[in-house]
Symmetry: none
DNA sequence: AATGAATGAGCTTTCATTCAT
DNA sequence: CATGAATGAAAGCTCATTCAT
């Protein structure tokens, strides 16, 4: 079922509830290993060893290996997609749409950049595993269609009406914006994290590109 | 080591050498299953069953499961990245750079679109598995840095000099173009293949976006 | 590397550490089957069945089938070769070389006879597998050259000096003694265990043979 | 069934019948590999590869892998044990028992030494595999009990009667002689072939040892 | 809460053998 | 005679999960 905001926020809060130290070690070990080798190629015994706990301990906290994966991916998925429009951040920025579309884009890109910077192993796992797990895809689809897309659409409509952006179907516009945004973050943190990046400048360039393209 | 064009072309030709019928069935079954569930979650017994051969038959043709994966991924990787600038296609289009940058972009996007349209399960496997296999990443890196990036760079320089595109570091420009291009193809075939797409129009829009952005 | 006595004794002690009952059953089944059919022709599933445990249980205690073999052979090898001159037995008998060479021979042959009598399946495995495993050969070579041969040599020198045995290169003398000794034990327990043997008498005869040969 | 001399001789002759070149290559490859790794650890594909023939070719000449083993071991077994008393050699030497027992022993040891020198991989396979194959043991038992032991016994009786050797049960005497003889050959060719050996001298010493022992 | 021995299904790979060419 | 693709049973080993302690 589609989950409403309150439910999603609850998920986040549950995820940050008190954990035993062992549980924290398990999660840390699982994240590291899932990110590196993928869920399917990671064995619970490897996680246990890396976490310094007994094999059985993992199953005391997570009924199955899959549940362990979900307990990692679900919160990231929510945090990754949601805060753009909901939450503290959204309230401040989006409800009172800034006049300047560029300014808004920059705030979004900066905000998501910061988030991925802090959480790239988690984001990596999310992206990798969404390819294989239908339930994760569905989860994502729900959050996206319910909480992200409509607001994005509304936003596009607004700036169109203000005559600040060109006539273009919303889905196309959204795709292009997200593609550029995620394209930057993905290249920055996943494809070529070892290159020397001038992050501020590159974000500005990306915003400029979204606004004006390459042509002179 | 970096492979030169002749070697890469040889890889492609080897892949199309005479195969026993059983071998073809195996490849077909492997592609289907790897695309759907991922390499790590696909068992050789499953492939054998789907291909209608004995499990031993797989290992008569491919020493290991990994070799089977590589025999699928390596040719796609070459075909996916290379033809953009090398080969028949490149010779006609890129060597005699069209005056119009837009026209060029359109030809590229169209050409890659057609390729992925014909081969999306293969492309999907390539993308999915590159996340987990260092050797695939390295293989890609070599082909890209040796055969794709330099020509792209040359092309950017050319249009800059002709004063058709803005001042921007080549890596950034290349990233933005590729991001938009791949973003379209990825959305079209992987993320939302079930949406109704007006492909021609969407490719035009994408080219427009790369050229002029969203702002009015 | 050559192992010193303390290390070898440690190997023996480790082998007798606390084992789970299942582990004991596994070892028993493995010894029986290896002795009968040889290591290479024994499957882990057969061992598991005979031991009444799941196949996985074997690999919980021994990382590989080879490790299971080594955990059986290494201690026998040490016990088989070492005690002749080291250990409790050696201290009593060899350090205070008996005047009578015959008496000494008899004590050795008797002592080794008793050992093999108690452990012939183990000895059998050791001999059989040394033929195929270079590492076992090397292990044996080290123990023999470091701990057995030198003392044997010293002993030969002693009795030569006392004018009790004939002039003969030590290696030849040692070979003849060991050949006769092992020849008896091997015939007794491996080649023809079903014959009726008067063991005491036969050991005496063997000692007589080593001393005086067959000629009248 | 016990085989009489004629049958055994026939086995030898059959073994030397005309073979195709491929068959010879197969046998050569099989002997090399069986000697090194043992029958059970040698795969037919490995033999085929080493012989430079197709896998199927082996089974054209030998119905099963076991038959290939037997075609190697049976002739060696006959040649190894039989010629001592039967055959050309035996006729010359044993039928007309030399007065000197020493001389006889020397002739035997020399003759068997030469044989093993020419055939040690074969002898090695025979010894190794007799440990695991009941049928080989039985084959050996038959040849030995029928053709070797009785003549040996007769020989012992003769020299006893001539008062040249001591009073001793024949089985014990035979065991001691064979033990010393085989002990030398085994040490020389299997255990320590890399040592520097003065073969002539060592055979003399061995005969001396059998006759007079070590005591002064 | 934590352990780790035990499980048995399932994995990839090897193998002796067959058979159409 | 010779080949080598094909087989399917069986090999060694791994795995997620359970449960008595």
């Amino acid at each position: 079922m589609t989950k409403d905001l309150n439910e999603l926020i609850q998920i986040l809060e549950e995820g940050e509830q008190k954990k035993t130290p062992k549980q924290t070690q398990i999660l840390k070990a699982a994240v590291e290993t899932f990110a590196e080798k993928g869920y399917a190629s990671t064995s619970t015994s490897e996680i246990a060893a890396k976490a310094g706990v007994a094999e059985g301990t993992i199953f005391r906290h997570y009924k199955t290996k899959k549940e362990l994966l979900l307990s990692i991916v679900t919160p990231v998925m929510v945090k990754f997609t949601l805060p753009v429009f909901a939450s503290h951040f959204a309230e401040q920025v989006f409800e009172q749409l800034p006049q300047d579309f560029e300014e808004l884009l920059y705030k979004i890109i900066k905000n998501r950049y910061e988030f991925v910077k802090e959480n790239h192993p988690l984001v990596r796992i999310m992206l990798q595993e969404m390819a294989f797990h239908k339930d994760l895809q569905e989860q994502f689809r729900l959050v996206f269609l319910e909480h992200v897309y409509p607001r994005f659409e509304h936003l596009i409509a607004h700036y169109k009406q203000e005559d600040r952006i060109i006539e273009l179907p919303a889905p196309s516009a959204i795709r292009m914006i997200m593609t550029s945004l995620i394209g930057f973050i993905f290249t920055r943190f996943i494809i070529a994290p070892d290159l020397e990046w001038d992050d501020e400048k590159e974000m500005e360039r990306t915003v400029q590109f979204i606004m004006h393209g390459l042509s002179k």
